[in-house]
Amino acid sequence: MGVSAPPKEADRLKTTVDENARISDEFDSEGEASEGSELSEVATEEGGGSSGDEDASTSDGSGLDDDDEGEKGGSGEEAEARGSSSDDEDASATDNDGLDSVEGSGDSDSERSRVFEESDSSEDELLEIQLEMFPWSGTRMSHILDMTLKGRITKKERQDKLDSFLANVDDSKNWRKIYDDYNDEDVELTKEEAKMISRLLNGKAPHAEFDPYAPYVDWFKWDDAIHPLSNAPEPKRRFIPSKWEAKKVFVVKYVRAIRKGLIKFDKPKEEPRFYMLWGDDSGAADKTNHLSYIPAQSQSYQGPVVSISTEVSGEWIASGSTDGTVRIWEVESGRCRKVWQFDEAVHYVAWNPMPELPILAVSVGQDAYLLNTGVGNEETQRKLGELLYVEAAKVSDDSNNPICSWIQDDEHGGIKLRHAKTVSSVEWHRKGDYFSTIMPADILFLLLFSLAIFRLYASAFYVALTCLSRESKSVMIHQLSKKLTQRLPFKLKGIAVSSVFHPTRSIFFAVTKKNVRVYDLLKQKLIKKLETGLREVSSIAIHPGGDNVILGSREGKLCWFDMDLSSKPYKILKSHSKDVTNVAFHRSYPLFASSSDDGTAYVFHGMVYSDLNQNPLIVPLEILRGHTTFNGRGVMDCKFHPRQPWLFTAGADSSIKLYCHN
């Protein structure tokens, strides 16, 4: 038999087949011709096997002869069929299938179940009995066996759609019929099943007798329990130090470093939180309750107005611009009264705080000018003429090198104080005799000052410069009546940014980029050092009471210092998105303001109580918009009117604005 030399992939089933084959080897040789698939061979062998058994039974008795014949005939038919279907198995199978289904459309379930039982191939007797029960021809039977044992389950042919429709129309129970795809049959649901389905569709429990709201029975006995539910011992993790807390120590270090300003971050980019829903805000000026009032001829400025200063009575205001002009305006009408033209950009203007000394101090390039404003009657003018007169160029020198020279300047009508370096700001003492000038660095550094791009670069230079200068060469104090100049007799550890005199006592505030040093000029000693924690201080203002200081910084922050409280800031207000250019206190009203390069000025209510136990009250009041930014510069300066709650702002858009409350 060809089966005796099986291919390599034959499995255990194959070996059993071989055994069967050996048994039936001598009995019959009909199966030799078959060269089909393994399974069909198995089927034939089994068929042969069964016939072999049958053979044994024939040898036993003769009563079963008819059966034997029939069986033999069956096997013979089978062999015939196989012979015909040996070349194209699949095609014949489908043919047979088709025949089967067409002819045997009335096949009952019992037949199919019998077919499945056949595949067990162990209960041969049962098979025989069932075979007997069917009076069909052997040919047909063998076909069924063949198809089933190939592993295919024949499916019922679905009815024609038209037929099924016609059949269903008449059937009143049609709605309950479902086609079961798994078992390939039509199932008719009972009424109970239909109800169950409808309940499931409604999201209820499938059984009607189920009570979803049954009373809760607490089976646990809670009373009189003396032990906890879990008697597990304390876990180890509660006794060993936390790794997270160990990390936190570093975090605290970082936080402190950030607060001290040792670690610097890039400024977060602030996006505008609001946008105009209904177009531009050209009409916004009308809607705000502020009167924006632009003095006349202010447009005649060519460059940004960098500094303004009000006269002590509030009648006049002076302004300086980068185009080299210094102007005096009448506040009430906005009339320009006087203009001086200088060769270099004006950095700072300051009006003398004494009403009988209408002198304007101006810093232009390397010079500080003291100008006669021409305000006042003849006698005042005569006095001023005497005061602003230097016989010869007077050079003030402490040591061997001159630090400042006083020169009569007839062109502008005043005195010129020639400094060694660029003068950035001028501040008067309250009595109008002393004034201080600041020379932060060379003009190169000043330019770098304003350019944020080179800030890092510049600060590196500053450090170097700081190391070099052992005493403060950058802050000068001048006396107008004696035409004297002296250096601030203290060491300034850092680059001087600004300076200011105490409003009532002889105390001097020297502002460097990182901190503020407070000196007593009479006792000649350092009183206090204010730690700002800011990256770069830009401006300072002192409350008229003298105990509170505000600082503006280049990162857009405002620091309020209560000097009685601490040398650390009492409050830090992060209000502006760009550099704060100036801060100002009102002389009589509880107001302070800050101006910034973002084009806005903020007005705050800053109440200082005479009761030392009460902290100052700071309330932001108003954001004043109105200046347009120009080359990245916005509002360059802000000053309060000395007597009215009005704020003057000077902008890079070459205009000065006056904001009033309405």
């Binding site: 009167l291 009032y293 009648e315 009339r335 009403p355 009657n377 007597r643 009005w646 009033c660 309405n662």
Partner: protein, 437 residues
């Protein structure tokens, strides 16, 4: 009534206090309720035309129960709660609208002050430091030379009693002085204006003088300044009037040779202290009462005899201008660094709230002035470039004069029917033909 019900009709009778050519027949007529001021004016004009064929049409304003009609009649009646059933009595007055805009009088600089109290002249102060006297639109008769700084305020000392053609005036300036001037009203009739030097310089302020006012009876002057004081000065005009001829002689004799020698230095008679900021405006309506407005947000009333502060009005804003007039010459009108013109009644006890507030301006108010004869009319000038005429009987401006191209700095009435105003366009504008009375 055979009317369609869509349009309500009102029985009305037109009455007036005007003189006979303006008197309409007093019989009641039926008018539609939707008629506005223009319609009413047309009706009255046609009524007058029926009585007088030569009648020339002119605008009228209408009063119902003492309020000016500024909307359609039915809305007005609804707003005021007046019954439309009864016969309505409508009073008509001449509309206060300037008829004519005179030629501008050109100055060399901004016009800072103007005084029209004298019906024959207009006195102006200018930012170039000169005072000017105008006889009419564009006709300058005198130039007052002497101040070294901006003239801030001017006042005519004898507007009514011009004796021997002599006009006295005073000017205040930012050079901290006041100067008194005397001019012959007959001079300068030609094209060339006469140049006048001051006959007296009043020194005593330590800061810019911002305002000046004159008592018409005693010819005394009070002046307010940036040094927060109000100084009272004796002008000697009344005494000088007796020998005005001799003064004139001396003037003509020495002429322009040594005019400075002619200047007498004056010192203040007394000083009123109390203000804490600039005194911006002064009024001296009666012999013993001086009103002063200041940037310290107060208006004070002073007793000129004792120099005591009698009463004060407090407002939250600095004041720029002040005027006293109206009913019984007691209402105080003032404006300042706010667009609202406020009017107080000091006779009302226990309140400092203004009785009227007019808020049509859009910028600071620079000047306000009551009409000298009317109880109801006043004008205001503002930095928004407008001069507005107000009637107390309505909340809207009766008339808006927009002849200036820039801020208006000063304004006044002249000859009772003209509005004169000066501003930053260096022009003195005269709007004539304002029929207030």
């Amino acid at each position: 009534m055979d009317v369609d019900m869509d349009e309500r009709q009102i029985q009305a009778r037109f009455v007036t206090k005007l003189n006979p050519p303006f008197k309409a027949p007093p019989s009641a007529i039926t008018i539609p309720a939707t008629v506005t001021r223009l319609g009413l004016s047309t009706i009255v004009n046609s009524l007058l035309k029926a009585g007088d064929p030569e009648w020339e049409t002119q605008p009228f304003d209408f009063l119902i129960d003492g309020e000016l009609v500024r909307m359609s009649l039915d809305r007005f009646l609804l707003a005021k709660g007046i019954s439309a059933e009864k016969t309505l009595e409508i009073e008509y007055i001449k509309a206060v609208v300037p008829r004519k805009e005179e030629e501008p009088s050109l100055h060399d600089d901004w016009v800072s002050a103007v005084d029209g109290s004298c019906s024959r002249f207009i006195l102006t102060g200018c930012y170039d430091g000169f005072g000017r006297v105008w006889k009419g639109a564009g006709v300058c008769s005198h130039i007052l030379e002497g101040h070294t700084d901006v003239i801030t305020s001017v006042s005519i000392i004898n507007p009514l009693g011009i004796i021997n053609h002599l006009l006295y005036s005073t000017t205040a300036s930012k050079d901290q002085t006041l100067r008194l001037w005397k001019m012959d009203s007959e001079e300068g009739v030609d094209d060339v204006p006469a140049k006048i030097r001051p006959f007296k310089i009043l020194r005593g302020h330590s800061a810019s003088v911002g305002s000046v006012a004159v008592d018409l009876c005693t010819k005394q002057i009070c002046s307010g300044s940036w040094d927060c004081r109000v100084n009272l000065w004796q002008t000697d005009v009344s005494s000088a009037e007796g020998d005005s001829v001799s003064i004139k002689k001396r003037k003509t004799k020495n002429g322009t040779e040594e005019p400075q020698l002619e200047c007498f230095q004056g010192a203040p008679v007394s000083t009123l202290v109390g203000h804490t900021q600039q005194v911006s405006s002064l009024v001296w309506p009666e012999l013993d009462t001086i009103y002063s407005a200041s940037w310290d947000h107060t208006i004070r009333r002073w007793d000129a005899e004792t120099g005591k502060d009698v009463s004060s009005i407090i407002c939250g804003r600095p004041f720029n201008c002040l005027s006293v007039g109206g009913e019984g010459s007691t209402l105080v009108a003032a404006g300042g660094s706010t667009p609202i013109l406020r009017i107080w009644d000091p006779r009302k006890p226990g309140t400092s709230a203004p009785v009227y507030q007019f808020s049509s301006h859009t910028s600071w108010i620079s000047a306000c002035q009551w009409h000298s004869k009317s109880w109801f009319h006043l004008l205001s000038a503002s930095y928004d470039g407008k001069v507005m005429l107000w009637d107390l009987r309505t909340a809207w401006p009766v008339s808006v004069i927009e002849s200036h191209e820039d801020k208006v700095l000063c304004a006044d009435w002249w000859k009772e029917d003209c509005v004169i105003s000066g501003g930053r366009d260096s022009k003195l504008r005269i709007s004539s033909g304002v029929p207030v009375l």
